[in-house]
């Protein structure tokens, strides 16, 4: 075991993992975090806690991680390169580990231009690839990025994101290989809607032997509405939403669109369970945490393994 986190245990034991996601509030309400967490308890193996997601200021990811730990959930602490330099990042990693955080997701971060402080100075001292390598160096070599010794290393289970859909498509599997080479233990993918393209990507990863070196969790976000599907298709960079998804949602008829969205997600999860190279699902029910129990149930992902 690298970290002994619940997520690591579930994956190494060969169970099909399920992770969730929780966005901290734009304010100080611990209750808000705990309320969202209550929907996820017992439903998922770990919960991603986003870090100033979409470049909007929110409660610190480590703080919300602690709040959900108090509720008996395991956090997957997200860290973006946009807001911190290597000193602050390493300090936060040490602190997060000291407080019991065992999973980390290393991300570049959305550009600050998208958020509520569009003229902020983006840091990007290191990038997500280099962040993965830094956490691994701290964990496995007891060294800071500079090479200086560190006492009692942070034993993190190291995660990263992958977007199988962004252009150039041929490059995507090589980028995955780079992240594995950098030291990543698990990958959570961008929301998948284009199943054909995803099948192609995962089969490339299988052919290159990559799926034997890393656990890949397929990203699933159920569509709540036709408007959401259109928004994701047209406004979210790197997102690939085929028209057939939009047409299917539209065809479901008034009052039944959300249920159809969930149905599509469950069908995807069924396929992922059988798909070679996929070790689990990362369920991002955006501002829809209360639907997670229903989705997990319908996708036959319950009960979660207790290890």
């Amino acid at each position: 075991m690298k970290s002994g986190s619940n997520l690591e245990k579930v994956l190494t034991a060969g169970h099909f993992a399920l992770t969730g996601e929780l966005g901290p509030p734009r304010g100080t309400s611990a209750e808000d975090v705990k309320k969202k967490a209550s929907h996820l308890k017992g439903m998922v193996d770990a919960v991603n806690i986003t870090d100033n997601q979409t470049a909007m200021v929110r409660m610190a990811s480590w703080a919300a991680s602690l709040l959900i730990m108090e509720e008996g959930l395991e956090p997957n602490y997200q860290m973006v390169c946009r807001d911190r330099n290597r000193l602050a990042m390493q300090a936060d990693i040490l602190g997060a580990y000291a407080l019991g955080i065992r999973n980390m997701l290393c991300l570049s971060g959305d550009h600050q231009k998208f958020g509520d402080h569009p003229t902020a100075k983006g840091v990007f001292d290191i990038d997500s690839m280099q962040l993965i390598g830094m956490v691994k160096k701290m964990r496995d070599e007891n060294k800071f990025l500079s090479g200086a010794d560190l006492e009692e290393s942070p034993k993190m289970f190291i995660g990263a994101a992958a977007n199988p859909f962004a252009e150039p498509f041929e490059w995507r599997v090589h980028r995955l290989a780079k992240k594995i080479h950098a030291g990543v233990d698990f990958i959570q993918t961008q929301c998948i809607y284009n199943m054909d393209k995803f099948r192609k990507w995962i089969s490339q990863a299988n052919d290159m032997g990559l799926t034997e070196k890393v656990y890949i969790l397929a990203g699933v976000t159920p569509m709540k509405s036709v408007g959401m599907a259109r928004y994701m298709k047209n406004n979210v960079p790197g997102m690939d939403v085929p028209d057939e998804i939009i047409n299917r949602l539209r065809g479901a008829g008034k009052g039944k669109i959300a249920a159809e969205g969930i149905k599509i997600a469950c069908e995807q999860i069924e396929e992922f369970k059988q798909m070679k190279g996929v070790a689990g699902v990362h369920l991002m029910a955006i501002e829809w945490e209360h639907k997670v129990p229903e989705i997990a149930e319908q996708a036959k992902m319950l009960p979660r393994p207790q290890l």
């Binding site: 390169c81 946009r82 290597r86 570049s108 971060g109 959305d110 550009h111 231009k113 998208f114 983006g122 990007f124 001292d125 290191i126 990038d127 997500s128 690839m129 280099q130 390598g133 830094m134 990025l145 994101a161 992958a162 977007n163 962004a166 252009e167 150039p168 490059w171 090589h174 980028r175 290989a177 780079k178 080479h181 950098a182 961008q190 960079p237 790197g238």
Partner: protein, 224 residues
């Protein structure tokens, strides 16, 4: 070359409040080429200032001079005998020129009339695109001659990120994704190996004021 953009008139007008006699110094090299601060721009700005102050009932004497380069002592010398008669100096040079001028005449306030905005290429008359951030650690040999520090909005060394959008950057559909271009160019040259390897974290060199002394030269003891 270094490019700059003239500051909004109100900002310049505001800086000059209270001064009755001002010298506007143009710079004949980079900022003249990019149409921001050469002889012609000095003349135009001075007419604007003159007119605005007259209209405001607070006339000003504003005169102009354009020297070859404000970042060179040799050319600044021409101002030595002139500046004393002015209460303030306006400089239309880049940030380097403004500072060099202020350093030479420390008793007189020096104000910038332009915003320096990059090391850019001239795409067409009046159209300049930034290409270099002067990071002191050039990686263009690895990246197919496309600078990720300047051209990638996140300055990534291991791109492209997941935000690349059919060849565009996530910040703007009209901004090409640097890493998409790097990938294409290296792919065409059969040099993708360059970016299959991980580029390690940068040793940033541009976090302190940099001094450059070429081999065979030394810093003079006294540089007055």
């Amino acid at each position: 070359m270094i490019v700059a953009k003239r500051k909004p008139f109100d900002e310049i007008d505001n800086m000059l409040k209270g001064y009755k006699k001002v010298l506007n110094v143009g710079c004949g090299t980079c900022v003249a080429l990019c149409l921001a601060g050469g002889e012609k721009e000095v003349e135009i700005l001075n007419s604007e200032i003159d007119m605005a102050r007259k209209l405001a009932g607070d006339p000003i004497t504003i005169e102009g001079i354009t020297i070859e380069r404000q970042c060179d002592r040799e050319y600044l010398e021409a101002l030595d005998s002139k500046v004393e008669e002015y209460q303030a100096i306006l400089s239309m040079a880049c940030g380097v020129g403004v500072q060099f001028l202020a350093e030479r005449f420390p008793q007189i306030p020096v104000f910038p009339a332009v915003d320096t905005s990059g090391l850019s290429a001239n795409q067409a008359v009046g159209w300049y695109e930034e290409r270099c951030r002067a990071c002191s650690s050039c990686v263009l040999g690895l990246t197919g001659g496309i600078c990720p520090v300047t051209m990638c909005a996140k300055g990534l060394y291991n791109g492209p990120c997941g935000g690349t959008n059919q060849g565009s950057c996530e910040i703007d559909k009209n901004q090409p994704c640097a890493w998409y271009m790097i990938y294409e160019r290296l792919s065409n040259q059969g040099r993708l190996d360059n970016i299959l390897a991980i580029t390690p974290p940068m040793d940033w060199q541009n976090q302190v004021p940099r001094t450059l002394i070429q081999p065979g030269y030394k810093k003079p003891e006294d540089v007055s």
